[in-house]
């Protein structure tokens, strides 16, 4: 199977100048298969969010190369990276970050509006179908504040899928939810991965949830551990 994302020798350094130079990632090589469902785990401060932001083209690595859906994604300017994000990537964050001024459906359609500039009837139809798929058909016209935490996160998930991305990046998507809701949301991600066929990379603290993924990456002190060692750690 082809890889949707390939990372080669990714290093990330912060600081320099007045502040001390720290290297957060020390040469990461990674391949994410098309349609895969992977977990990124590791202790707090090990660099998971940094790695996810680099994969998500939200920040550029100090060294190394990355390819997204076969396109060279490293060394590109903000305009190109923005367009690549819009076309190929979906984001789910720990906090839903829904726009409070817009309804659930409008939030879901925002990536379409942001990229293409206008919304077609087909887009609207897809938004409704997806919202219905996650059990929010009744809530499409509610504002985020009128929804529960689990419902808000489900809206955020649908928003990440609306543009049919090739890869969905989720940074502790269940970190802010109680364990039952977390299980439900995680199960939903898994089902959507099977139904929609896009690849997922999920950062999580929960070993049990990580275990249910196809593949686990264990990050420690800015390095990916080899699979055998990673298994031990869990």
């Amino acid at each position: 199977m082809a890889d949707v994302m390939v990372l080669q020798g990714i290093r990330q350094r912060y600081g320099g100048g007045d502040s001390p130079l720290v290297e957060v990632l020390h040469g990461i090589d990674l391949k994410l298969p098309e349609g895969g469902f992977s977990a990124l785990i590791g202790p707090s401060g090990s660099g998971k969010s940094t790695l996810l932001n680099i994969i998500g083209l939200l920040e550029s690595p100090t060294e190394g190369q990355l390819w997204l859906a076969g396109e060279q994604a490293s060394g590109q300017n903000d305009r190109v990276r923005t367009a690549l994000r819009n076309r190929y990537l979906g984001f789910i964050f720990q906090f839903h970050h829904l726009l409070p001024a817009f309804s659930a459906e409008e939030n879901v359609l925002m990536p379409v509006l942001a990229g293409v500039g206008r919304i077609s009837a087909a887009d609207r139809e897809r938004a409704r179908t997806l919202l219905a798929r996650v059990g929010l058909a009744e809530h499409a016209h509610k504002r985020p504040v009128q929804l529960s935490g689990g419902q808000q996160q489900r809206v955020a998930i649908v928003r990440a899928l609306i543009n049919r991305p090739r890869l969905v990046l989720a940074d502790e998507p269940t970190g802010n939810l109680d364990s039952q809701t977390a299980n439900e949301v995680f199960a939903l991600l898994r089902e959507l991965n099977r139904e929609e066929g896009m690849s997922f990379l999920i950062v999580t603290h929960d070993p049990r949830l990580a275990q249910s993924c196809d593949q686990q990456f264990y990050l420690q002190d800015g390095r990916l551990l080899p699979p055998a060692q990673a298994d031990e750690r869990q």
Binding site: L58, R79, A83, R85, F93, P100, A101, A114, G117
Partner: protein
């Protein structure tokens, strides 16, 4: 474009309190500007109107002719200059018909009239008053200076042997329409005339001195033969009178004075009044711009996370820039709409309060579409410009920082 409109509009609607605050600021600012502009323009138009009601826009007079002395200087003496002005009596415009044609041919000249004027004395019973004798062709003269609105008693007509006099002079000499009056020129020539009407020229001094009479009568009385002393000109471009005067002077060889030149102090006063009102407008505009900018900056900081998430999902920076620019533009434009309403209301209210003794408005305020359109345009541009700094800040937000923020 649709993204920018949708998001800008929704953010404005959502931040109701901030939007109301900023709109209130713009409305008051624009209101003050419209009010001051309407009052100052009205006042100035009124002052100019009153000043020019008894004056021509341009007056042409004979050029100062300089005579060389007939005697030559004796040997060994080198006079640096030896020139003398002709006396006023001799300084008239002869053969003026072609000059008048020339003046009337100028495209900016809407009307013109000739005048033969000079000093004289008016006598009635034992009372003598010094007056200005002004010979005119009544119909021509009225195309340059309106008289119908100055008539206080009698008939506006000037047959031979008739005169129109100022109301003060009539009171001083106890004259009314139909009375007879003896006029004497400086040369001693005398004529008895009949008062056809009394006029109020708007200034006490003019009312005390002005005697309008037929051109022929004045020429005879003053001893000018067929000469005249002035040509009065009216133009459709009031504020170009200075330029017109220069052109007419060049083409006729006469001295030309614009109304601005003859009312130097007034023009200076009007200019400084205009300058101070411009200053107020500029400062108010700055205050409004700062208000818009500061509220939008706060809004950008507050919405940092939302902007970050929009950027993360692939919103180009220029669309974020557009969202905040448009908010500034909308606020400017809508504020201008409310503000012109407020300013116009205040200005009209002012005319209700400020009234003359006879109950009419002190002066009409000037509320024209040009004022509204220019204010709206300026407010829109100022809104955009003041939103520029916050908008750039929003567009340059690092999504990672913003989301972690």
């Amino acid at each position: 474009m649709s993204f920018i409109w949708t998001v800008a509009w929704r953010l404005l609607r959502e931040g109701r309190f901030q939007t109301a605050l900023i709109l209130g600021g713009v409305t008051i600012g624009v209101g003050v500007i419209v009010y001051i502009t309407a009052i100052v323009n009205g006042l100035q138009a009124n002052i100019i109107d009153r000043t020019l009601s008894s004056q021509a826009h341009v007056v042409l007079r004979p050029a100062d002719r300089l005579n060389q002395a007939a005697l030559s200087a004796p040997d060994g003496v080198t006079p640096l200059a030896d020139v003398r002005k002709r006396t006023q009596r001799e300084n008239t415009i002869a053969n003026w018909t072609p000059l008048l044609h020339e003046i009337r041919a100028h495209p900016r000249v809407t009307a013109s009239a000739v005048m033969a004027s000079g000093p004289g004395v008016a006598q009635q019973g034992g009372v003598r008053k010094s007056v200005s004798l002004m010979g005119i062709e009544l119909d021509d003269y009225q195309t340059v200076v309106r008289l119908d609105n100055k008539l206080r008693s009698g008939q506006l007509q000037l047959a031979a042997g008739e005169a129109l006099i100022g109301v003060e002079l009539a009171a001083d000499l106890g004259l009314s329409p139909g009375s007879r009056l003896r006029l004497q020129s400086a040369s001693g020539e005398q004529i008895s005339v009949r008062v056809a009407a009394t006029l109020d020229f708007g200034l006490k001094d003019l009312n005390r001195r002005w005697v309008l009479m037929p051109l022929r009568d004045a020429q005879n009385l003053l001893g000018y033969r067929l000469d005249i002393t002035e040509i009065y000109v009216r133009t459709d471009q009031l504020f170009e009178a200075e330029t017109l005067a220069g052109q007419l002077s060049a083409s006729t060889g006469l001295t030309a004075d614009s109304w601005q030149a003859s009312n130097g102090q007034l023009v200076t006063a009007l200019k400084s009044q205009r300058a101070s009102s411009t200053m107020i407008r500029v400062f108010v505009t700055f205050a409004v711009a700062l208000g818009i900018a500061s509220v939008l900056v706060v809004s950008v900081v507050q919405r940092q996370r939302e902007i970050g998430i929009l950027r993360a999902m692939g919103t180009p920076a220029w669309r974020i820039l557009g969202v905040f620019l448009l908010q500034g533009g909308i606020v400017g434009l809508v504020g201008a709409l409310f503000g012109t309403g407020l300013g116009a209301g205040l200005a009209l209210g002012f005319t209700q309060i400020a009234r003359t003794e006879d109950g009419g408005p002190l002066f009409p305020v000037v509320l024209d579409s040009e004022l509204f359109i220019s204010t709206a345009l300026i407010a829109f541009v100022v809104g955009l410009l003041s939103a520029l700094m916050p908008a750039l800040r929003a567009a340059r937000l690092d999504p990672v920082e913003a989301i972690r923020g």
